[in-house]
């Protein structure tokens, strides 16, 4: 019986112990003889850059992948984990970055569906749900359709789901990436509560601050090797972790010195955007000058995307938009791009890249469109040499066959660098960067930031839209806050952190 494993005998040192796990995909060795252990009652933070092997390791623990070599012990006894069902039976549950919930169903219906395979009837499942809720103090409304819930509430539903299925070991894959600061605080508190009641939590994250705040121990993967194994968080500094993660001293990002404002590049007056029947952007006014980074802070879904798309010409809008003083409301996307407007969308996979086309084609596509690589015929070698230059300059890793393979094979960070490489060309004058570092590791983040700053040195203006307040504070010359489609009206100041928080919640 699997429940035998769930007892936490004092004799067993570790809840979970992984020894010598290796995994290769084709020729790429993603995990190289990795050791990892987890104690009952601890939050064990797992750090690592994109592509360091964190997700692969966790997918092995949850039976999604099979390890090429190595062993998994639960409470000191070797266990086979061949499928997600095996993992669940052993009490190992994972909350993925992308939730697996049915939106029109209520929370309770989703839970019944998930627990249905245990053979219990609904009354029994409902009783179990109440029991778990009572034990953990999770705050979830059961009879509301999941589609109407916020991201944080959906995440709590997922956590409730794995607890309901009997998980004692919880793996949370970058759970705070989708949350606001306030929601993240709540989640960290929940993690402490869970380990307080005897669970064990593996917490995957990029954010050093969160490791320090909630972790008992920390491990760090770098390029498939465990470079820091199970150190007590109290014994390490964030500098130690930074170095372990990226292999070199990592300087903190300083706030940029303010610069004098010269010439306005982008002027927006009374811009409104309808999304269905709701006004997603309401009478927005803003001006961006040459060399200026204007930060737009706000909780996701408050009209940021609609604003960006209206400026690019991808969605109809009312109001005035001027680029270099010329009105562009009627201009097509191509005409706006010809005037130097560039766009780094929040969702690169769906809005910026063509996954099945090659890396080289994705890098060259806008140059091809405007005829820079040939008016009539476009020679493949010109595309490849254009791409080769960008791959070198922007340090895009993982490119094979000179860029002839599909770009979907690149990792997230390198795909994002490809978007940057394409959009930050020499003729760019105003860059709309929407969450340009979402999901990137520390080194890649810094690279993206450096590139944006470099663009302003050339005289570009940047509209930086981000939910990451640190990023906004570190980079912006001026900060606007967007809340329910309305912009705060303090363009000439850098408001204090607390003030921004208030504005984000729409209190000001």
């Amino acid at each position: 019986m699997p429940t035998n494993h769930l007892a936490a005998p004092d004799g067993a040192a570790f809840a979970l112990e992984v020894t010598g796990v290796s995994k290769s995909f084709g020729e790429a060795r993603v995990l190289d003889s990795v050791d990892f252990d987890l104690r009952w009652g601890e939050v064990h933070a797992l750090l690592g850059e994109n592509g360091a092997g964190k997700s692969t390791l966790m997918n092995i623990l949850t039976g999604i992948y099979a390890a090429d070599a190595g062993q998994i012990h639960l409470n000191g006894a070797p266990v086979p984990v061949r499928s997600p069902a095996d993992a669940m039976a052993l009490g190992i549950g994972m909350v993925h970055q992308h939730f697996k919930l049915i939106l029109p169903f209520t929370v309770r219906e989703n839970l019944r569906l998930a627990a249905g395979s245990t053979g219990d009837d609904w009354t029994a499942i409902d009783a179990k749900i109440s029991e778990v809720l009572e034990k953990t103090g999770l705050d979830v409304s059961l009879d509301v359709p999941v589609g109407t819930l916020s991201v944080a509430e959906r995440q709590r539903t997922e956590i409730l789901k794995v607890l309901l299925l009997g998980a004692r070991i919880l793996i949370l894959d970058e759970p705070t990436a989708v949350l606001t600061d306030h929601e993240a605080e709540r989640l960290l508190a929940l993690m402490r509560d869970l380990v307080g009641s005897g669970h064990a939590v593996v917490f995957i994250t990029h954010k050093l601050r969160e490791v320090m705040a909630v972790g008992d121990r920390v491990s760090t993967l770098r390029k498939g090797r465990m470079v820091l194994r199970g150190k007590a968080v109290a014994d390490v500094t964030s500098a130690d972790l930074s170095i372990a993660m990226i292999g070199a001293e990592q300087a903190a990002v300083d706030a940029r010195p303010a610069r004098p404002l010269t010439q306005p590049i982008l002027e927006i007056e009374n811009l409104s955007v309808l999304s269905g029947r709701i006004k997603a952007v309401k009478d927005a006014n803003l001006t961006i000058h040459a060399g200026e980074i204007l930060g737009l802070a706000g909780v996701g879904g408050n009209g940021q995307r609609e604003l960006a798309e209206a400026v690019m010409g991808l969605t109809p809008a009312t109001g005035r938009i001027r680029l270099h003083g010329d009105p562009i409301e009627q201009a097509t996307v191509a005409e706006r791009r010809a005037l130097g407007l560039r766009y780094i969308p929040a969702d690169r996979a769906s809005d910026a890249l063509s996954p099945d086309n090659s890396v080289a084609d994705n890098l060259a596509v806008t140059a091809v469109r405007t005829g820079k690589l040939g008016q009539r015929l476009v020679a493949p070698r010109r595309i490849l040499s254009h791409a080769r230059k960008l791959i070198a300059v922007f340090d895009i890793a993982g490119v094979t066959a000179g860029g002839r393979r599909p770009i979907r094979l690149l990792s997230g960070g390198n795909a994002q660098k490809s978007v940057l490489a394409r959009e930050l060309d020499t003729e760019s004058r105003l860059i709309i960067a929407h969450s340009p570092t979402r999901g990137l590791d520390v080194a890649a983040c810094r690279y993206v930031h450096d590139q944006l700053i470099e663009a302003t040195d050339r005289g570009c203006g940047v509209l930086l839209i981000s939910e990451d307040l640190e990023e906004i504070l570190a980079l912006s010359d001026h900060i606007h806050v967007i809340s329910r489609g309305s912009l705060s009206t303090t363009p000439d100041a850098r408001p204090a952190r607390e003030d921004i928080g208030e504005l984000m919640l729409g209190h000001a």
Partner: protein, 354 residues
């Protein structure tokens, strides 16, 4: 049992692996097909003669195969051009019929004087493009499913064809529902190699032009990006609606041209049978050629060979014509299965200890 099978997406398959998979798939498909034919009553000893010699190696057989392949190449282009933009053209037959009808109109009403033959071909292409314009606009502008509209518009085209053949286009000399035979000036020239005619050159030229545009020209870039990810293509500044419309209209024109080539090159008159099986043939060839224009003539050649072989199998061994559809199905399914194997790695874990 099933929970012991795991699927892993491969990090990407190189050209060597794809080629090997392709070759293996065709090998397996051939073996299965031969089995089906033997089961259907073809003597084992006759297989080589009927499938290879009579279709590809004898002069008459090769000529018949090439003639048969000519409209198939164009129909496959019609399927591929649309499929690249994720537009399922299930109405190739309808566009082909409208092309054949307009070409016949030019011929029967003696329009165009010395330029009649080129005019017939242009009219056929126009007919195909016009017939796909409505489904294209409905899809692009109003998101109406093209599958239903192209499919049903084929029925309309066929009924219109019957109306013409039993009415204004009917041959008064006899009572069969066909148009009168064209004048010599309305027939595509032949090369003295069976029935092989100029249409083959036209079809191959069309392939080369489509390949050039797709892989070497700015419009082809736009089409490849708009087909793969229209949202991103739009953000890059492409006019995706226009790119889609143009690609689909050209696809329809290719189907119409197939109709023109059949009436002017092979049949020399309009009949009820000119478009038979062309939607299915076009789609299967495009799928086997992975929508790559340059592979289309090669695949068409073999699919045409199969169709030619089936005719003699029917005559000499009483094998049903349906066998050819079964074999096409086998080839397509085998290939799709093998493609799955290049995309995923399948592992089956050892049985659990009891």
């Amino acid at each position: 049992m099933l929970d012991r099978i795991t699927l892993e997406r491969r990090a990407g398959s190189g050209p060597l692996r794809s080629t090997l998979t392709y070759a293996a798939a065709i090998g397996v498909a051939l073996a299965l097909s031969l089995g089906v034919m033997v089961a259907a009553g073809v003597p084992t000893g006759a297989l080589f003669e009927e499938l290879i010699v009579q279709v590809f190696l004898s002069e008459a057989g090769l000529a018949r195969t090439l003639t048969m392949a000519t409209p198939m190449i164009l129909a496959a282009l019609a399927a591929a051009l649309c499929l690249r933009l994720k537009f399922w053209n299930i109405g190739i037959e309808g566009q082909l019929l409208m092309g054949a009808i307009l070409a016949t109109t030019v011929a029967l009403y003696d329009i165009g004087g010395p330029l009649r033959l080129p005019l017939m071909l242009i009219a056929s292409a126009l007919g195909g493009a016009l017939w796909i314009a409505l489904p294209a606009i409905l899809r692009i502008r109003f998101a109406v499913s093209e599958v239903i509209v192209t499919l049903l518009s084929t029925n309309i085209a066929f009924l219109f064809l019957q109306h013409l053949l039993f009415g204004p286009f009917g041959d008064t000399m006899h009572n069969f529902p066909t148009s009168p035979v064209f004048d010599n000036a309305e027939k595509l020239p032949r090369f003295g190699f069976g029935d092989v005619h100029l249409g083959l050159v036209i079809a191959l030229t069309a392939v080369l032009v489509v390949a050039l545009v797709t892989h070497r020209m700015r419009f082809g870039f736009a089409a490849r990006f708009a087909g793969d990810n229209p949202r991103a293509a739009q953000a890059m500044g492409f006019d995706t609606a226009r790119v889609m419309l143009v690609s689909i209209l050209v696809g329809g024109a290719m189907a119409g041209l197939a109709g023109g080539v059949i009436v002017a090159g092979t049949e020399h008159r309009l009949t009820q049978a000119v478009g038979l099986q062309m939607t299915f043939n076009g789609i299967i060839i495009a799928a086997l050629a992975r929508n790559l224009p340059l592979l289309i003539p090669i695949v068409s050649f073999f699919i045409a060979g199969l169709a030619v072989a089936s005719q003699s199998l029917k005559v000499f061994y009483g094998v049903s014509e349906g066998i050819v559809l079964i074999i096409q199905g086998i080839i397509l399914l085998t290939l799709v299965t093998f493609q799955f194997a290049t995309t995923y790695r399948v592992t089956i874990a050892a049985a659990r200890p009891a």
